[in-house]
């Protein structure tokens, strides 16, 4: 029988204690440096007043939170649309039949063009360009075109992630499915896609976190969402604190999702059996 504490357990316990001590000391030093040194800078008093004004923070917070609801709405509508469009584009790119060639070519151009243009530029081009066509009032709503822009841009990125996921499923899986007499479509939907999706969950989560932030770009073409509301509050109070408040609201949403993405990645790594090397 092994002793209550094996040689390795004793060693690892020592290592752990050492790590905790080092982490504590270095964190303390870093914190002290920030707390002590930053206020020593010549502009600190001014920065404190214009960025961290408690009264303004409290005052603008409810309005910002309300404006953030529009961001959430755009996010909730665009996410499923992005997934659907991205899947269609990914499937079109993988098409092998000659009759599908136009679709395939379209998919290639779609991803090339939309991934190549900065989101911010795309927001301007579509947000100002499409309503200029003189559409009806309802269709000229910038929220619609902002959402469309996000769907276009993100679906181009996500379709590439999906394509990589589809390609990562080994050819032998297709061979097994086809040998049962399954059609190419059945093989894709029952065998390839379910495996591909499991693999791309972590990168998809990453894109989702990134999308949460880019929703704010819609403000550039008019809608009063959180970033624009913060700008209005800033102008009213001549103070930057509303921006800090907006940042806090964003973090409250993005941090949990970032953690979720990390967790998904770690779980996947455990499942595929890769071990951590010391």
């Amino acid at each position: 029988m092994a002793p209550p504490l094996t040689r390795r357990a004793v060693y690892e316990q020592k290592q752990r204690r050492r790590a905790v001590v080092i982490a504590t000391v270095s964190t303390t030093i870093a914190l002290v440096a920030v707390v002590v040194l930053v206020p020593l800078t010549p502009g600190w008093e001014k920065v404190k007043r214009s960025f961290f004004d408690t009264d303004i923070f409290v005052e603008s917070f409810p309005g910002l939170l309300e404006a953030f609801m529009l961001d959430l709405k755009i996010l909730i509508v665009s996410t499923p649309l992005i997934l659907i469009v991205a899947l269609l584009i990914a499937l079109a790119r993988g098409a092998r039949r000659p009759a599908m060639f136009p679709l395939k070519a379209f998919a290639v151009i779609y991803t090339d063009v939309l991934r190549g243009i900065p989101v911010i530029l795309l927001v301007f081009l579509i947000g100002f360009g499409v309503p200029a066509l003189g559409l009806s009032r309802e269709l000229s709503n910038p929220v619609i075109w902002g959402t469309v822009t996000l769907v276009l841009s993100y679906s181009a990125y996500v379709s590439e992630v999906m394509r990589a996921g589809i390609d990562s499923v080994h050819e032998s899986q297709r061979a097994a499915a086809r040998s049962l007499g399954m059609t190419g479509q059945q093989t894709m939907s029952s065998v390839v896609l379910p495996q591909a999706f499991r693999r791309i969950v972590p990168p998809l989560m990453n894109s989702f976190v990134s999308l949460q932030k880019d929703v704010a770009l819609v403000s550039l073409i008019g809608p009063v969402e959180i970033l624009r509301q913060a700008g209005i509050d800033k102008a009213k109070t001549a103070n930057f604190t509303p921006y800090v408040a907006a940042a806090v609201i964003f973090l409250a949403l993005t941090i949990p999702f970032t953690r979720l993405a990390d967790w998904a990645l770690a779980r996947q790594r455990r499942r595929t059996g890769a071990t951590t090397i010391a």
Binding site: S172, A176, R178, S179, M182
Partner: protein, 256 residues
Amino acid sequence: MTAEVPTTPDLKIELRGVYKAFDATTVLNGIDLEVAKGNVIALIGASGSGKSTLLRCVNLLEPVDDGVILFDGVDIAEPGLNPDPIRRRIGMVFQSFNLFPHMSVTDNVAIGPRKVLGVSKSQARREGLEMLTRLGLGERADAYPDQLSGGQQQRVAIARSLAMNPEVMLLDEITSALDPELVGEVLDVIRGLKNDGMTMLFATHEMAFAREISDKVCFLHKGRILEEGSPDQIFGDPQEERTQAFLKRVTDAGRL
């Protein structure tokens, strides 16, 4: 060539002059082979002699470049033919199992009947469970492929093929990826299939098994069937120098 080629009625599969090349490499160089209904045919030969490609061609997983493959007298090697209706009548088992890792064992067995034959999900699962029980895997029906031993996985793969009620089974070195002590359980399943009268064409390195179970043994060399005959003749009294050399090599390696 047209589909109406005269053929002997009790032949299940007949290959005539089958030719297949990958780029500049000729893999099958004029294969002629007759598989009678209920017969078990062993393909032996060194790695790269064309055994696997031959099986993949019969299942239309690889398109044949030239020649004829008659399945019940119908030419299935015709370019442009829809392979799906043919494949559902031919079962195939692979060296590396190729089970679907995201499905339970039962769902692996049920997916073919469900998707291809249109059997209801509950019925397909029930029949799948029966098939698994028959192969001694009833207790592992809810497990996932990665939770099974290699021998169990390969038996699931056989069950998955059998669930389609195939007329012919193609077995591509199905014991090559297994630990020696797991080979027996898989071979037992194949013995059972032979007793049931299943027509089988299999590539193997298990010479003792090939000798025991097959009605005919074909020795492949560089994409041709160099010698064929009864197991006793091929293993006991091989005529070709290449066959003798190959069998000597495997005997020296302790595989016979």
